[in-house]
């Protein structure tokens, strides 16, 4: 066999294997990345068992097993485990590394309880006693646990009532504070008031007095009721004890949920798991976004994407229509295609800085000076907000919509279009009746791809109106209901912010994985729908041979 090697090389098998390696590595990376996020993200909510360890020096720690590693200490490899010990207000830190050689005893006691709280994170300990009003209940741990659950429910109901009464109180005072503000605005310009203003001021002041008389009685009544309820709430508490024996009092209404993980079976744990997942999607964030839910971020993302779609779809469809139906071949078409291609290539941060300089400072500043001059120097539209963020993203995703719509328009068989024109329809009638309905899949594809891009882009949003924690949603029940000048939260930005700018990154990391998982799920689902639509479109295209 002459020249085995050269023959081998000519046949090219090694090169083919090389190319297949490229595919394997690429796909492998994707699969690895997605499974990593899946595992870490989904695993976050599973209530884990609590381990109690006793060390050689007599100390004992109670917590969740977080990680393990082999560290090199003093040139010797040592096995270590990391416990999440919680109890931030007592220990100052959340996690601790323990050498396995120092551990003398491990156990999973049945009575340990995990408390998820509104502040200071988790607490791991034992229930010492339950206090309800004047009663103090103690006894068997299981009995105390059930009693605690009963009173916890009572505390939740009480909290609901407290919120109701607080809302009523606020609504009562609202007109009073509004009047006070108007009066103080007048008082600020005291010297330059003319006669008409002075009489208006007097009128407002007398209105204020009348209002004060009217609301003083219900105000006192409601305040007293609120105080009573709050006192009752404070009297519902637990005395808890850490593994070391330190005792502390915990108000029941400040506990989000608590359970004894070592006692639960898989079904019960699944129940807690599902309730935590629901909390993640529907609740407000706590502890500077490291716990709780991401509902405002989901809401903000959805709202922003909606506004962006309203802006980009008409623009993109009009542009695609112009390119395909109206423009004459030659310079104009080439220029527009060149523009679309370049818009697609511009980095997202350039859109962001353009949005900041043009939309926010120039346009927004002008709007402020024309319509909101009395509120200056505090900006209304001259600062980041959901409107400007949506417009910036609309510019960014315009090329996607244009290209997808063009694909849709091209799928319309020429025979139909020319037939309509032959029957005497105007160009617009033909477009409206023939092109647009048939191009719907393409337009939808473009819309969906734009939405998926908008959900994932963070850089331009960072500087045009997304914040770490928004005090209110852009849509609420106060007039004008849709507040276009408000800042909002965004899922992608949550990932960046919680992962890189939170005070306790180690404790926050699981939440970041879960948010990333949520974001990926949204993006993947959207893209799958777009691919499905596009395949249907391609099939249609293939059948029209004309």
């Amino acid at each position: 066999m002459t020249g085995t090697i050269s023959h081998f090389k000519q046949k090219g098998d090694p090169y083919i294997l090389l190319t297949s390696m490229g595919l394997v590595l690429s796909l492998g990376m994707v699969v690895f990345m997605i499974s990593l996020i899946l595992v870490k993200g989904l695993g976050f909510f599973w209530p884990s068992d609590l381990l109690e360890v006793k060390l050689e020096n007599g100390e004992s720690y109670l917590g969740e097993v977080w990680a393990s590693q082999t560290a090199i200490l003093n040139d010797k490899p040592e096995d270590e485990i990391q416990l999440k010990i919680g109890n931030r207000e007592l220990y100052g830190l959340d996690f601790i590394w323990l050498k396995t050689t120092n551990i003398t005893g491990e156990s999973y006691p049945d009575d340990v309880t995990t408390f998820e709280r509104l502040t200071y994170g988790n607490f791991y300990g034992f229930i010492a006693s339950v206090k309800a009003g004047d009663k103090t209940i103690s006894g068997e741990p299981l009995y105390m646990f059930h009693e605690a659950q009963v009173y916890h429910d009572t505390a939740q109901v009480l909290n609901g009532k407290i919120e109701e009464v607080s809302d009523k109180l606020n609504n009562l005072i609202a007109p009073y504070t509004r009047l006070q503000r108007e009066i103080s605005l007048f008082k600020m310009k005291q010297e330059s008031l003319n006669e008409e203003d002075k009489s208006k001021l007097a009128g407002l002041q007398s209105d204020l007095e009348k209002l004060q008389e009217r609301i003083s009685e219900p105000y006192e009544r409601l305040s007293a009721e609120l105080q009573k309820l709050q006192q009752k709430d404070r009297n519902l508490s637990l005395k808890v004890r850490t593994a070391e024996g330190e005792e502390e009092e915990m108000q029941l209404s400040r506990i989000v949920r608590f359970y004894q993980p070592n006692r639960l079976n898989a079904a019960q744990k699944s129940g807690i798991y599902l309730s935590k997942v629901w909390e993640f999607i529907s609740a407000q964030p706590r502890e500077s976004n490291t716990e709780g839910g991401v509902f405002p971020a989901i809401f903000g993302t959805v709202m922003m994407v909606l506004l962006m779609s309203i802006a980009v779809v008409p623009f993109g469809v009009l542009a695609a229509l112009y390119l395909n139906e109206y423009a004459k071949q030659g310079k104009m078409i080439r220029l527009i295609r060149l523009s679309v291609n370049n818009l697609a290539g511009v980095p997202s941060i350039v859109f962001g800085i353009f949005g900041l300089g043009f939309f926010i400072y120039m346009v927004g500043g002008t709007i402020d000076q024309l319509f909101y001059a009395d509120k200056l120097p505090e900006p209304t539209f001259g600062t980041g907000g959901i409107l400007w963020a949506s417009l910036t993203l609309a510019l960014l995703t315009l090329p996607v919509v244009v290209v997808a719509t063009e694909e849709g328009i091209l799928a319309v068989p020429r025979a139909n279009k020319e037939g309509a024109l032959a029957l005497g329809a105007t160009r617009w009638q033909m477009i409206r009746k023939i092109v647009l309905p048939n191009a719907m899949p393409g337009i939808l594809t473009g819309l969906i791809l734009a939405i998926s891009r908008g959900a994932g882009e963070v850089a331009p949003l960072m500087i045009t109106g997304v914040v770490k924690l928004a005090p209110s949603l852009p849509l609420d029940v106060t007039f004008p209901f849709l507040h276009l000048d408000r800042k909002f939260m965004h899922l992608g930005f949550q990932i960046y912010d919680v992962g890189f700018q939170s005070p306790n990154v180690e404790a926050a990391k699981p939440m970041v994985y879960t948010t990333a998982l949520l974001l990926i799920i949204i993006v993947v689902v959207l893209n799958l729908v777009a691919i499905y639509l596009r395949n249907r479109l391609r099939k249609k295209y293939k059948t029209s041979v004309f």
Partner: protein, 739 residues
């Protein structure tokens, strides 16, 4: 339907058609307008950086103090009131708008006494000291307080004499003339006076208010035979500089009131020193001599840890001796004025003389900057005061400072530095774009290194060798991979992979080294299977053998890595890197970013090259194989050239994406603007810099506009890449893909 109805419908339809046409055309042109608008807006925001400075005269006031000379002048922050102090000790406050004298004050001078010299004690406040013919030194403060009556603002001027003392007199009969005077009052209240009397003696007096102690020194012995021609000192720190008639400088250390000593002396010029002044920041020293030369020196740390003044900047020379230097209280602008009335406006960091102008035909007697550095006042020897508006908003930016090396204060030599803000107003902004451009290019190169081979190989495999079912599942998967938000990739790279890579650096290296080895092994493995069996495996399924080989090698490497590290690098490869190669290992470094960026770019290159490769007509490949070529020969000789245009376009598109990617570089580099070739150090890319700095940049300020300039550069880069890709792609298509 009669004719009228028909035409009514027709008219409506026609009108709708017209309106639709207009709207649709607007949409079409709107796209062009958008992108042109973005380009123009970026340009509009960054071009003011290069506008030249300008000086415009607004008022001329005849200060009727003749025949007395004006020694000192100043103006308030709103540029409404000026004050002048003449050699009779009279201070006049003049309102510029109507040139009325609104107040007057005076120093308590003897009948025959008049003032010879005056010196301001600080850049911001109007504290000054004056020296007289009777050897007395007076210190005083002028206040120009704004007061509000209703909504009107008026400036209320006032003068307060802080103290006076007599200069040292060693001969009781003759009074001492103060010939040169320097006065400084630091922020903590320490007062320093330095003067040269008519006998050429140099004295320094320091008053420390905390200890209520006065210190007096006669420094004449240190001078040898030199004669002091000028004096200056830093505003808050520790240097007193004396310039001599021989062009030498003497540096006295006055940081400790109880110990003043000569630190250094050196020659700076062949001519006599005629003007000296420190600039804001207490580092840069402006030296003017009788030859008209203007230089800036500042102290630089030497190898022996001593500070030594070095010549740094040179400016346009005057045609007459430089007699006055005024430093701006806000930035490093300074005025130099010569004996014939020529005035230069210079900026220290940029080595630039911005404006040269004359005001009057008479020599200038004294002058001052306005407190906000937006105006200048100059008084000539005929007691005419001219007030000017100075417009120089972005003096620190020139093409040289943006793209060239600049010698900043405190640095041993000119460097490329990006350091946009510091703790105080006195900070010298260092805005060089080169570290950012370097960072972007570095990240892009690493990303392309990693992604082009993988993506192209995968594309060739999927389009040419893989079975159809595999192609059908792989393509949508890669499209979804393209849609993955870069936030997630960046987050994983920064928070998950960086620590792991740092901990298991040895494993990563071993994997990279063993990849070709395992590839060869897999071939051997493949060849070991007998020919019969091999032929039975359908085309494209070779991939099955790759997967277990990779897995086995990974497992092997992970177990073996620690021992190898122990043997080769004494247990710590990072230490070895530092000791032997001098490279510091940052946790978030270019290698990690290269992987992450490459990961983000692979789907783009893959999709488009795969499209291009699939579009090569089957007739070509069939013909090639019919002629006896193997699959690989066909791919290499026929398919690849035919698809060259598309592949090039794909790579260019990936390149464009890598250059503009923001979130990954933001999260996975350390965002440190350093220029190092090491793959283990971080960097700062243009896009990440914009994202990080623009929220903190004052609107309309220098940093703001420089960031817009950076965005403009990014825009131009991607535009060029797009155009290049279109151009060369077309050329390649024409050359190779004529079918």
């Amino acid at each position: 339907m009669n004719d009228q109805e028909k035409s009514y419908f027709q008219k409506k339809a026609d009108r709708a058609n017209r309106i639709a046409r207009i709207l649709i055309s607007i949409g079409g042109y709107g796209v062009v307008v958008s992108i042109a608008g973005i380009l123009l807006f970026l340009f509009y925001q960054s071009i003011p950086l290069f506008f030249p400075a300008s000086v415009k005269k607004t008022e001329t006031v005849d200060v009727n103090h003749s025949p007395h000379k004006i020694l000192l002048t100043g103006i308030d922050q709103y540029q409404e009131i000026v004050y002048v102090l003449d050699d009779a000790g009279i201070i006049s406050f003049i309102r510029l708008s109507d040139q009325k004298v609104i107040g007057q004050d005076s120093l308590p001078l003897e009948p025959q006494e008049h003032l010879l010299v005056a010196c301001k004690g600080s850049l911001e406040e109007h504290i000054f000291a004056v020296g007289s013919t009777e050897g007395k030194i007076f210190t005083g403060e002028i206040r120009l307080q704004p007061q509000y009556q209703g909504s009107r603002r008026i400036i209320v001027p006032s003068f307060q004499l802080e103290g006076q003392f007599g200069a040292v007199n060693q001969n009781d009969s003759l009074p001492v003339h103060i010939e040169r005077l320097l006065f400084r009052q630091t922020e903590e209240g320490i007062k320093r006076w330095s003067w040269v009397d008519h006998a050429g003696r140099l004295f320094v007096k320091i008053y420390d208010p905390d200890e209520d102690q006065e210190y007096l020194y006669n420094l004449s012995d240190n001078l040898g035979r030199e004669k002091v021609s000028q004096l200056t000192a830093t505003y808050n720190e520790d240097k007193l500089i004396c310039g001599t008639l021989n062009g030498e400088l003497f540096w006295f250390d006055v940081s400790q009131p109880d110990n003043v000593f000569l630190k250094d002396n050196w020659k700076v010029s062949q001519a006599a020193i005629s003007a000296l002044q420190f600039l804001i920041g207490d580092n840069a020293l402006v030296i003017g001599d009788t030859d008209g030369a203007v230089q800036v020196w500042f102290p630089v740390r030497q190898a022996d840890n001593q500070m030594k003044f070095l010549p740094v900047h040179q400016f346009a020379s005057h045609k007459a001796p430089v007699i006055l230097v005024y430093a701006s209280p806000r930035n490093r602008t300074f005025l130099t004025i010569d004996a014939r009335g020529g005035i230069h406006l210079n900026y220290s960091t940029t080595d630039k003389t911005e404006i040269e102008f004359r005001d009057s035909e008479y020599p200038i007697q004294t002058g001052s900057f306005s407190p906000k550095s937006n105006g200048i006042i100059l008084v000539d020897s005929h007691n005419r005061l001219g007030s000017f508006i100075l417009s120089n908003k972005y003096p620190e930016i020139t093409l040289q400072t943006l793209f060239g090396k600049v010698w900043y204060e405190g640095y041993p030599k000119p460097e490329f530095v990006w350091q946009s803000t510091g703790g105080s107003d006195e900070f010298e902004s260092k805005l060089s774009l080169i570290p950012l451009i370097f960072g972007t290019i570095k990240g892009t190169i690493y990303a392309m290194f990693f992604s082009i081979p993988l993506a192209l190989l995968a594309a060739i495999y999927v389009s040419q060798f893989a079975p159809k079912w595999m192609a059908r599942t792989v393509k949508p998967t890669v499209e979804i991979m393209a849609a993955l938000p870069s936030v997630v990739i960046g987050f994983l790279a920064g928070l998950y992979f960086s620590p792991i890579v740092e901990k298991h650096l040895m494993t990563v290296f071993l994997f990279l080294i063993f990849l070709p080895v395992l590839f060869l092994m897999s071939i051997v493995f493949w060849r070991a299977v007998p020919e019969q069996r091999r032929a039975k495996v359908p085309m494209g399924w070779e991939i099955i053998f790759i997967v277990p080989v990779i897995a086995v090698t990974l497992a092997l490497i992970i177990t073996v890595a620690h021992s190898v590290e122990m043997i080769l690098f004494d247990g710590n490869i990072k230490q070895w890197l530092y000791n032997v190669m001098g490279m510091v290992y940052d946790q978030r470094n270019s290698m990690v970013v290269g992987f992450a960026l490459g990961f983000a770019v692979i789907p783009i290159i893959f999709t488009i090259s795969e499209d291009a490769l699939s579009n090569v007509p089957d007739s070509l490949t069939s013909a090639s194989m019919a002629l006896g070529a193997s699959r690989w020969q066909t791919v290499r000789r026929v398919v690849l050239p035919a698809a060259a245009g598309g592949i090039f376009a794909a790579v260019m598109l990936g390149l464009g994406r890598a250059i503009g990617e923001t979130m990954i570089v933001l999260m996975a580099t350390g965002n440190t603007p350093i220029m190092s070739m090491s793959p283990f150090s971080g960097f700062r890319a243009m896009s990440a810099c914009i994202a990080v700095e623009i929220p903190e940049a004052p609107v309309g300020g220098t940093l703001y506009r420089v960031l817009f300039l950076t965005a403009l550069l990014l825009f131009i880069f991607t535009f060029l890449i797009n155009s290049l890709s279109a151009l060369i792609g077309d050329r390649l298509r024409k050359k190779y893909a004529r079918f």
